[in-house]
Symmetry: C2
Subunit: 148 residues, 2 copies
Amino acid sequence: MADEKMPTIDQMLCFAVYSAGHAFTRFYKPRLDALDLTYPQYLAFLVLWERDDITVKHLGERLFLDSGTITPLIKRLEARGLVRRRRDEDDERQVRITLTEAGRALRAKAFAIPLAVIEGTGLTLEGGDALRAELIALRDRLDAALEV
Amino acid sequence: MADEKMPTIDQMLCFAVYSAGHAFTRFYKPRLDALDLTYPQYLAFLVLWERDDITVKHLGERLFLDSGTITPLIKRLEARGLVRRRRDEDDERQVRITLTEAGRALRAKAFAIPLAVIEGTGLTLEGGDALRAELIALRDRLDAALEV
DNA sequence: CATAATTAAATTGTACGCAATCAAATTTTA
DNA sequence: TAAAATTTGATTGCGTACAATTTAATTATG
């Protein structure tokens, strides 16, 4: 005994999540190439299109990413004239991110993407919503279990 | 009209998968630090512990990763004496990966991990299995929709 | 109110992840 | 069987991810 306990990789939930995530990235790739965006950059824009003039910290919290990822990502977008970065006047530790006109205009070119993705998943709206809710609950439980 | 169509990031299934994947990585981190493995390295070992002496291509297919990711990952493990790489004698295009004694021994130290992770998910075995099956089906539909 | 503690970003270093390209080996086919 | 096509893995370059450290700014505390 003490052997034969290790699961096969295909039996593991974590790998199903991991590989499904990569599959999404692959699926998005040709659509996002048309906007010249990577998938994480697209996520950043989804947050920024929703509400502008947010801090690096706030964006990081929405995306579950830290400044080591956000800072260079936003700097690349700034270099392309899609966003602007400036220190908050009241608290200069914070950097606020705003969209430029070009960054705002990008939104129109992204309209077709969500529907194409829903189609790609082969799920109904209800099925997709249920799966999403389960994953969010799972994510939050994993993160909660970490803070001990 | 033509506006108000973009979903919030929290309404998107892809982001739920993406962020749940990162949450898994975070959760694994302290457990895998004890083995001095990253999460992708751990996945590679799961495949190799299952069956040894496989090609880079085979490992890549199991993990849904290409040679640009597999090659340096395996080379790092080789540098630490955990795996060996050698050309296949019959087809020298292929590189076969085998475990060293140290690589095989690592398996014993990993036994406790799966149970801790299941606990972290807060899911029953049945609930986890159902979620896993849905994600695998989703991944395969996304990949199938890509090959047009 | 001076100093300690905290907070927000940025930076550095390591490790994925993948597209594009390349080289070598094998297989096809004309 | 010689040339073309394919296959396999390695390499390069770019863009995440994240831990650890650093710097600057703000807040808490004696």
